[in-house]
Amino acid sequence: MFNLVEKRRWFFIISAFLIIPGVVAMIYSTATTGAPFRLSIDFVGGSIYDLAFAQPGITEGDIRDAFAEYDDRSLTVQRLTLDDGSERWSVRGSFLEQEQRDAIFDNLNEISPLDRERTQVESVSETIGSEVARAAFFAVLAASFIVSFFIIIAFRTVPNALRYGMSAIAAMVHDVLVVMGLASIMGLFFGWEVDALFLTAVLTVLAYSVQDSIVLFDRIRENIPQYLGEPYETIVNRSIWETIHRSLATQLNAFFIMAAILLFGGETIKQFIAILFIGLVSGTYSSIFTAVPLLVAWEKGELPFMSRIGAMLPAPRPTEDNGI
């Protein structure tokens, strides 16, 4: 049995490599745009038009002209390339009411017939946007608190419950940072926007991260009395290998389902699924390579500031590897 726990320093370094670029991107993005991500209209207000035309031929200039009268803010106009060869454009502008949107549609219709039945508009005022942003902040806060509390409750019967709780929370923070960093990087380079669904993805990732840690910790909890003479590290390592089939099989199934959605889902759902999938992979990774190594490092008093808490607990068991 390959000793994963022994290599824990390497895993901490790998995690750092996974997280740091994202954090840098978020800091850079905050410094240049005022927000760690490119925020969608859900959070800042504005309109998104998904325009479908009955025939090709319309140009970006035409579209800008049609909007010019009603939308003074700088428009983002983008042609969507789709497999079915239809003429679709995505336009982002400021928040407008129905009358103005209809007037724009009339303008467009004169240039090139608009396929109203395949056109979509979302429009959100700044007030609503800022309310959603505030609610999002509280949702993340509430979710983190309640879940942290739940983990500590769930492991209350285990010696050192707080360690398990803190390690699971660290893994959770790891995964949330990974997906937030990813969203920030994708925003900087590919224009991905963060919307209400992104927040849903982040919270779902958080839930699944905890789920993975719980399964693994449950096994450690069960194995400790069974292999009493063994060093803690060996027990933990054994627990990882015992649950790894489950992790891989579950991951594979999640992959099947998400691949199916990616294949057929709409554009908005695709980014959501991509974020969710990376988050789930990170969740499995972090439970094995972040939460558990942290637990061991804590047990062995390797963590700065934490050693005092460790000293109050039973002395560490001998650490010789008995070759399992």
């Binding site: 039945e117 849903t200 958080l206 959501f272």
Partner: protein, 461 residues
């Protein structure tokens, strides 16, 4: 063993019920035969799947200047207008203390619908008699004493673009408002090819009105809608309780105005704060794609489970079908409005559903490898995995509750659809992953006892 067959009977009945509920033709059950459904079964589809409009309207008044009853009355009036437009699937609900959410699935004339709903539609008959310089006020916005009263009640100043009486700078005098109307309907005059509104006043207003017009024959009277002068005809003769309003209306305008007058003016002016407008074809395409994604995803998962875990995998695959049926039935019974995020939530919950089974089966394989006999390995697999399944599901359920509340924020409503289907999936999974799979697996194991004890590969071990 008898316990498992009892459960099988329960599950079979449940499945039969769910299949019946899930059938597209099922609309409900009427067991006392009074012609009204005792159990309504209906699949609601969200705007992103059927197309239509959703608008969030906000009171255009400072907080505290109107009561919750005013807002409710505004919502009721909006509801009357929506019904008047024949939009039966529509929903109108008050959100918070200053907003009304209107959803119009399947609506085709979106412009007319939203315009009709949003307009305050305060109709006034204004005395123009004896005032010099009023003949060119058509299409101009004016201030009347009725509006002045409303503005003062809200503690607002009259907007400066409203014209006052040119002779003394006072507001114009309102004789009657739309609140005194008994009925209003749009009609067509084939001679002039014009649409007009035919109105009937209630009895007390009719008395006032005929007294007023009788005294002012030969003088102008303005018909004012939301401060704008529609027309200022000269009173030809004393008017009774029935008369017409002309104003170069198109058919849509005449219909909307008649409807607005019938349903009454909104006590609070409303403004659009958010809107979502989805084309019907786009919605249908999304339905087709997500159904395809769903079927493909589920088939691959079923195949994987059967290939990788063999006999237990078959039990899990059957349990997964039961899981899906229970979910579909729940969506129609609760009812849950299906949207794209809601469907995604369901698909994600399938992943969790199989995770429960995987936990159990991996555990079983371990026990078999440790040399435990088949029956004992089955028992241990289910008993020992239960704690993990429960704890891990609870953490996800907590997150879903948070997401659901986040989804209550106007503007983030897509999120609640995801949260509801995922939470339902997780709860149903606690039943199917454990009880249904266990029942199927123990029964399969009892049928295949001999081959299973000889050929361990059948257990995926």
């Amino acid at each position: 063993m008898a316990r498992h067959y009892r459960w099988l009977a329960v599950i079979t009945l449940l499945v039969a019920f769910c299949v019946w509920v899930s059938l597209p033709g099922t609309t409900g059950l009427d067991w006392d035969g009074d012609g009204e459904m005792n159990l309504v079964v209906e699949q609601k589809l969200g705007l992103d799947l059927v197309g239509g409009v959703r608008v969030l309207l906000e009171a255009q008044l400072p907080p505290g200047s109107f009561t919750p009853e005013d807002l409710q009355r505004a919502a009721d009036n909006v509801n009357k207008r929506v019904n008047g437009l024949g939009l039966t699937e529509a929903t109108v609900q008050v959100q918070g203390d200053r907003r009304i959410l209107v959803e119009l699935p399947g609506v085709t004339n979106k412009k007319q619908a939203v315009d009709t709903i949003k307009a305050t539609a305060l109709l006034e008959f204004v005395d123009f008699a004896g005032i010099p310089g009023v003949d060119n006020l058509e299409d101009v916005r004016i201030l009347t004493n009725e509006q002045d009263k409303l503005l003062k009640a809200r503690g607002e100043q009259a907007p400066s673009d409203l014209q006052r009486r040119p002779d003394n700078g006072q507001p114009f005098t309102t004789v009657l408002t739309g609140a005194d109307l008994e009925s209003a309907s749009a009609q067509f005059d084939p001679q002039s090819q014009d649409f007009f509104i035919s109105v009937q006043l209630n009895d007390s207003a009719a008395a006032t009105f005929s007294g007023f017009t009788g005294a002012r024959v030969g003088q102008p009277m303005a018909i004012v809608l939301d401060s704008t002068v529609l027309s200022a005809p000269v009173i030809q003769s004393q008017l009774g309780s029935e008369f017409i309003i002309q104003g170069n209306f198109t058919q849509d305008e005449a219909n909307s105005l008649a409807l607005q007058l019938r349903s009454g003016a909104l006590p609070i002016p409303l403004r659009e704060e958010a809107a979502s407008d989805v084309g019907a074809t786009l919605g249908q395409e999304s339905v087709n794609l997500s159904v395809r994604a769903g079927i493909l995803g589920v088939l691959v998962v079923l195949t994987f489970m059967v290939l990788y875990y063999r006999v237990p995998g078959t039990a899990a695959a059957l349990a997964l079908i039961v899981f899906a049926l229970l979910n579909f039935a729940a969506y129609k019974l609760i009812p849950v409005t299906l949207t794209l995020p809601a469907i995604t939530g369901f698909l994600i919950s399938i992943g969790t559903a199989v995770d429960g089974n995987i936990l159990i089966f991996e555990r079983m394989k371990e026990e078999l490898r440790a040399g435990k006999p088949l029956g004992m390995a089955l028992d241990l697999g289910f008993n020992r995995a239960w704690g993990s399944i429960r704890d891990s599901n609870i953490s996800t359920i907590i997150i879903c509750v948070v997401l659901f509340f986040f989804g209550q924020t106007p503007g983030a409503s897509v999120v609640s659809g995801f949260a509801i289907t995922l939470i339902l999936g997780l709860v149903i999974n606690l039943f199917t992953a454990v009880i249904v799979t266990r029942t199927f697996l123990y029964i399969l194991a009892s049928w295949l006892q001999k081959p299973l004890s000889e050929k361990k590969w059948l257990l995926g071990a």
